[in-house]
Structure formats: structure tokens, C-alpha cells
């Protein structure tokens, strides 16, 4: 049994000789190899053995350390992304059969029926021996249409399996990422850094982009990744000149030629690559020629580590890196094992370009938003008859949300209604799901089937 699966994370760390590589946040620095004899869970790991565990932290490094310890021990580790609303917790916990919650502070909303195990970046001596007994299911959350996030099942193998290519990083490499490691893109970097034995510098919501870049420069960062939006923001900072990365990576959004050229100009000696990955479809490919889009000959390569095909204009992927499926949800793969990414592509010459989504999902700075989810919040306002949330192209984060709203007769003070709607969105949604602008419109176009027309969403 042990030969057929990936060794648990902590064992892989000690086997890989991670040495003194460290994980650094703005507030703490931890050598993950030290978890062989120390614990971030206050010595209570045994209480989590074989259980379904929710990892719900304010600090991303605390979550990362808990995951290292939970892999191979817990039956299931459910990773909460930053900014998750507590209103979604009961549904998530029920669906994932959560029996214990790992958290790094007071987290309101955890029912008293489950065990709460504190965690943090201060390590304590481990009580007893570590025993890895099982394969742990990793559950990542992605934005759902309405009614809370979808639960995507992975294993360490599907998250960390090699996809070929790419030499191991040279000794002395220091990685960094703008992503939060509690989402797929950041988790990838976290796991790859751990398994390669390189140090990793994490961003912090408390620091500005400029401060993060200064910290990255001080640590001598060599590899750094983020979304095109992260990079547009970084290049606004004079501190962007302080780092001298050997490798710059973009993913999570469409990388247009503008941002690729701007990065080339800023970092003439760096390898610059944009990658395609999603929580469900895994990491698929990386393009390093400095051009937007991807070469058409990546499609239809039978027997490749990552097989890709285009059907109904969308990109579909089959590989060892795709998720296993949705927990308690619809099936993820077609009968031949391909995952439909939902990303529409268009061929121009020898290249494919991403042109949008089949499901109308809007990508706001690398984070997916289902317009229906935002409309549901807006429609609760008593003066709203109907609403449509759509994307507006934005020079900084690719797209922002704009809401068109039809109010009931005699709307009274339109500005007051707009402001109440924005207030409600700010209370009930994470910041990136709040419309940047709200417009009152006389009507919205509806199809013959009674559905909102969603052009350009």
C-alpha cells in the first residue's frame, strides 16, 4: 500500500533533506523540518487522528504548518480560504463531516459539538511519536454559484505530482508568492517549495505591496509568482526594482501581452512564464515564450502527462493533477476522465487564446465570482425588482463587478438605495465580490426562456 502512494508530507520533508529551508511570513519564520520533533498544534495531534478536520485560521502560515502535520494523520483536511464567511461554515462542516476544527484564535461560529484545537506559528515539543497511518483527503473550497463554496477533493499526490519538465530548483533558491497558500494557486507553490526543500516567503494582508517587495528583496527572492493583477499592482511600486528574480510566474487569470511585456522590461534577465491551473483541473501547462495565449500543438498530445482537448470551445484536461471530484456534488469528469475547465478558447493561427467562461464566472484579480451569488444578495433589498451583475474590464485587476438594478415603482431616493445595496454587499460578501459600481436601470433584457441575458459577463 505504501508503495503506491505519495509519502505523507512530513515524511517527504525529512526524506528530501529540506535542511534549514524556512517558511517566512511578515511575523514569523519556521523551519518546517523542525516539525519532526515540534508541533504547531500544541501537542494535540492525536486528537485529530482519523478525523475530518477543518483548518480555519486567520494566519496563512499557521494553516500551512497545521497541514504539514495533518497530512497522513487526519482522514480529511478541509482548508478554509481567507475571508470565508462564517455563514457558510455549518453547510461546509456538514458536507465534510467535520469532527474537529483547527484554528489560531477565537473563531466565532464553530459549533460546540466539535473539538477545537488551537494552532499557531509558535512550536511546542511534540508529545509522543509521530505515526502516519493513512492517506489524507485534502478539501479545497471554490466559489459556488449560490449557497456557499464547492468542496473539491484532492490528495497530496494530485496536488504535488510532477507534470514533467522543470529542473529541480538550484540550491539557495528562495521562493515567494503573492498568493495565499490556502487557495489552490498558493498551495501549489507551498507544496512545491516544501518538497523541493527551498525557503518560501509568504505575503501578509497587513503589509502593502511595497513593503512585501522590500521584504522579498531582503530575503533575496529568486522565484516569485502571482496573478497578472498582483503583478500590475507590484509594478506600480518603486520597490519592484529592488527584487531581481530569476523566475517570474503568472497564473490564475489571463496573462495579456501588456503585462508580459511590462514584466520583461522590468526583469530583463528573468525567465517569465504564465501557467494555466485551476482548483478542479490542476496545473496543466506553462508557457515561457513571452507571448500571450498558448501554442496550439499542446492540444491533442496523446499519452502526455497532461492531456488537453478542446470540446464545445472549452479546454478540457486529463492528468494526475486533476481533482478527484466534488465532495457530495456533481461529477467532475467526463467518461474518459477529462475535466471541463469551463474556459473558452479561440484559435488564432498557431496559438490558442482564452476568451471567457462558459458559466459566466467573472475573474476578479484571480478570484472567481459567480454573478448569481452577488445578485442573490442584491435581490434581498426590498426595493429591488431584479438585478444583473456583470464584468467591467479594469486596467488593474482585469475585471471588476458592476451591478445593474431595476427597482420597484416609485424608487424614492435612488442614491440611498444604491448605498444600502452596497452596504448589504459589504456586510455579506468578501470585498472582491462587492460591485465597484451600482447603476439603476429601467429594465434588464430577459430571454424567451425567462433568463437574464448575460452578454459580456
Amino acid at each position: 500500500m505504501f508503495r503506491t502512494r505519495q509519502a505523507p508530507l512530513l515524511q517527504a520533508l525529512s526524506d528530501g533533506g529540506s535542511g534549514d529551508a524556512s517558511l517566512r511570513s511578515a511575523a514569523a519564520s519556521v523551519v518546517p523540518g523542525s516539525l519532526a520533533r515540534l508541533s504547531s498544534l500544541g501537542g494535540r495531534l492525536d486528537e485529530l487522528r482519523d478525523r475530518s478536520v477543518l483548518v480555519w485560521t486567520g494566519d496563512q502560515l499557521a494553516a500551512g504548518l497545521a497541514l504539514i502535520e495533518l497530512d497522513g494523520v487526519a482522514r480529511r483536511a478541509v482548508l478554509c480560504p481567507p475571508g470565508l464567511s462564517a455563514t457558510h461554515l455549518p453547510a461546509i462542516m456538514a458536507k465534510a463531516g467535520v469532527e474537529a476544527v483547527v484554528c489560531d484564535g477565537l473563531r466565532a461560529g464553530v459549533p460546540s459539538s466539535v473539538a477545537v484545537i488551537p494552532c499557531g506559528t509558535g512550536l511546542l515539543p511534540l508529545a509522543g511519536e509521530r505515526r502516519d497511518t493513512r492517506q489524507t483527503e485534502w478539501i479545497l473550497l471554490t466559489s459556488g454559484t449560490t449557497g456557499g463554496p464547492k468542496l473539491v477533493i484532492h490528495t497530496l499526490a494530485s496536488l504535488a505530482a510532477p507534470i514533467g519538465g522543470g529542473a529541480p530548483p538550484a540550491r539557495g533558491s528562495v521562493w515567494s508568492t503573492f498568493y495565499d497558500i490556502r487557495r489552490y494557486g498558493g498551495l501549489q507553490i507551498f507544496l512545491r517549495a516544501l518538497l523541493a526543500g527551498t525557503s518560501l516567503l509568504l505575503s501578509s494582508p497587513e503589509e502593502t505591496t511595497g513593503e512585501f517587495l522590500i521584504r522579498a528583496a531582503e530575503c533575496g527572492v529568486t522565484h516569485i509568482s502571482g496573478t497578472p493583477s498582483h503583478w500590475r499592482c507590484a509594478l506600480m511600486s518603486p520597490s519592484a526594482r529592488r527584487i531581481a528574480p530569476r523566475y517570474v510566474r503568472l497564473s490564475g487569470e489571463i496573462a495579456d501581452q501588456g503585462i508580459l511585456d511590462a514584466l520583461r522590461a522590468a526583469y530583463p534577465d528573468a525567465g517569465i512564464a504564465h501557467a494555466f491551473a485551476s482548483t478542479e483541473a490542476g496545473v496543466a501547462f506553462e508557457v515561457g515564450d513571452g507571448l500571450a495565449g498558448f501554442p496550439a500543438d499542446l492540444i491533442g498530445r496523446g499519452g502526455a502527462a497532461v492531456e488537453m482537448k478542446i470540446e464545445k470551445r472549452t479546454l478540457r484536461i486529463r492528468s494526475a493533477r486533476t481533482a478527484i471530484g466534488y465532495l457530495g456534488g456533481p461529477s467532475l469528469k467526463d467518461e474518459s476522465g477529462f475535466v471541463d475547465t469551463g474556459d473558452l478558447v479561440e484559435q488564432r493561427g498557431e496559438r490558442y487564446f482564452f476568451v471567457g467562461r462558459t458559466d459566466g464566472v467573472i475573474n476578479v484579480g484571480g478570484l472567481k465570482v459567480h454573478p448569481e451569488e452577488v445578485e442573490a444578495v442584491i435581490n434581498r433589498h426590498p426595493s429591488v425588482r431584479m438585478s444583473r451583475v456583470k464584468a467591467r474590464r479594469n486596467p488593474i485587476i482585469g475585471a471588476v463587478l458592476v451591478a445593474d438594478i431595476v427597482v420597484r415603482a416609485a424608487p424614492g431616493d435612488g442614491e440611498a438605495i444604491k448605498s444600502e445595496i452596497l452596504d448589504a454587499c459589504q456586510r455579506m460578501l468578501p470585498p472582491y465580490k462587492v460591485p465597484a459600481a451600482v447603476h439603476l436601470v429601467p429594465s434588464l433584457e430577459v430571454t424567451d426562456a425567462g433568463k437574464l441575458v448575460r452578454r459580456g459577463a
Binding site: T208, T209, G210, E211, S229, H230, R232, C233, A234, L235, M236, S237, P238, S239, D256, Q257, G258, I259, D261, A262, V364, G365, R392, R393, N394, P395, I396, I397, V400, V402, L422, Q426, P431, Y432, A436, A437, H439
Partner: protein, 101 residues
């Protein structure tokens, strides 16, 4: 486009700066950010505002001012300081773009 400079005087009589300042302050408040004084040398990336805040500011200014100076030009470099930001809107205002200083 405007050789006399008269129109420039007229358009500059309705400056964009107050609209921009108001939007910075409003978005900072909405997003729970602490805004430093809006001096011309304030480096935007070192302010407490994040990329989402700037994105919202640009979107709202398009509604209030009626134009987006970034347009669809993908290669437009984003301003570095608050002063650059205001100047970016002032110089790319429709009708004054070609007026020399």
C-alpha cells in the same frame, strides 16, 4: 487639436482632482483602510490601498468623470504617485489630451 489654449483654460476650470480625492477617501472608508494624506508624492503602492481599491477607484471615476484614461491600451504604465495619478487623468481628459502645458 486646440491651438488657442482657451478650451484648456475652460476645462481646467473644472478640475478632476477633487473628484479623485473624494473617490480615494470614499473607497478607503468602504474597504476599512487608513488613508494617508493625499499629497502628490504619496507612492500609491505604499499607501494602505490594495489593488482592489485602485480597481474600484478607476471604475467609479469612469462613472463620475465619463472616461477611463487607461482605456483599452494594455501597455499604459500605471501611475506611481498620487500626483502622477491625478496628472494621468488631467492630461488624458478627452479634449485636453493634445494641449501643451
Amino acid at each position: 487639436m486646440n491651438p488657442t489654449g482657451e478650451a484648456a483654460v475652460l476645462t481646467r476650470a473644472t478640475p478632476v482632482r477633487p473628484a479623485i480625492e473624494a473617490q480615494f477617501e470614499r473607497v478607503a472608508k468602504e474597504q476599512g483602510k487608513t488613508l494617508q494624506p493625499l499629497s502628490d508624492d504619496l507612492v500609491l503602492a505604499d499607501s494602505d490601498l490594495d489593488s482592489l481599491c485602485f480597481a474600484i477607484i478607476v471604475a467609479r471615476l469612469e462613472d463620475t468623470l465619463g472616461y477611463d484614461p487607461f482605456g483599452l491600451a494594455e501597455d499604459a504604465a500605471f501611475p506611481v504617485t498620487f500626483g502622477d495619478f491625478v496628472a494621468f487623468y488631467e492630461t488624458r481628459r478627452p479634449g485636453v489630451a493634445d494641449v501643451p502645458d
